[in-house]
Amino acid sequence: MEQFIEWIKQPWPWWIAGPMIGLIVPTLLIVGGKAFGISSSLRHVCAMCVPANIPFFTYDWKKELWNIAFVIGVAIGGFIGHYLLANPEMIEVAESTQRDLAALGITDYRSIMPHEIFNWENLFTAKGLLFFVIGGFLVGFGTRYAGGCTSGHAIMGISSLQWPSVVATIFFMAGGFLMTHVFLGPLMKLVGF
């Protein structure tokens, strides 16, 4: 048992995590005929809180509460995974990535997120504006415009052989590559890293 707990606390390899995520697809289908998708939850929050008579948000969100329950579960799972099954080591990141990030001023590998960026002190600074406000806005706006995110398009969509989801996934990656290789460095310099 102790060995098992030790093992659970280690970071899990991709060939455990990937198939487990893949199994969420049939689990949701069999439990209630639900298509795996997370970004819709953001839309349901809009429909619940500020529908403002916008047709896109005036639907019966009560029928979609399963999606909200699911993402609340994800947050609780995040809590359990972090506080009860915590990995005692620092996060292992590819050396080449560490070198690239050090050039951008990121060197803190104590947590899964770099503290230099993700902390409350940065909230009302240019750093916070870029990473929290603009970053979040792009994620919310882009996923809804694309009709899904990594779960809905890349995993659920491609799994069910939807070619529009392949297109969406290609452009997710294109946007990410462009941000990482072209904009991220200059933007980080601009906000004071």
Binding site: G33, V74, G136, A168
Partner: protein, 162 residues
């Protein structure tokens, strides 16, 4: 596209895939919550929600995220084939219907915009929730901003190329 849509129709199909006549009971909601908990634990334990992992992925310096997404797709696709072959029903006995996604310009433009944000935040919408749970409470701001982004899309979707 967009012709003869009656008022109130959604510009994006598949965004509300739930075709049920009524919502879920509290007990059923609890079931989805528990599935979500499992998902959140995987997210954290495999460090998929890590900003560093996303950087490794976009810098092509680690196979990890490609392995995760790739194997998830393979397992998801096989599962769907098994469901189809054996005509597996939901636990309530309903037929499992997977709706087709219609191609839209949004998958290109919106997908690209999301990609830009993904590399900044190091998170797609799912990981945002897990990051908050794991103690990075400042990500609540990112989440609120993502909700705002979704709202702005909904408000102006009729003016955007769809």
């Amino acid at each position: 596209m967009g012709t003869a849509v009656k008022k109130g129709d959604k510009p994006n199909v598949g965004a509300t895939p739930n075709k049920e006549q009524k919502g879920e009971s509290p007990l059923e909601l609890l079931m989805y919550l528990i599935i979500g908990v499992g998902f959140g634990i995987i997210f954290i334990k495999a460090e998929i929600v890590s900003w560093f992992r996303i950087q490794e992925m976009f810098r092509l310096q680690s196979f990890f995220m490609y392995g995760v997404i790739g194997s998830a797709i393979v397992v998801g696709a096989l599962s769907i084939q098994v469901i189809k072959w054996f005509n597996i029903k939901t636990i309530k006995g309903d037929k499992i219907i997977i709706s087709d996604k219609e191609f839209r310009k949004g998958q290109i433009i919106g997908g690209f915009i999301f990609g830009l944000g993904w590399a900044l935040t190091g998170a797609c919408p799912g990981p945002l929730f897990a990051q908050i749970g794991s103690g990075f409470t400042v990500i609540l701001v990112t989440l609120i901003s993502a909700v705002a982004g979704t709202w702005v899309y909904g408000r102006f979707s009729h003016k955007l190329p769809n």
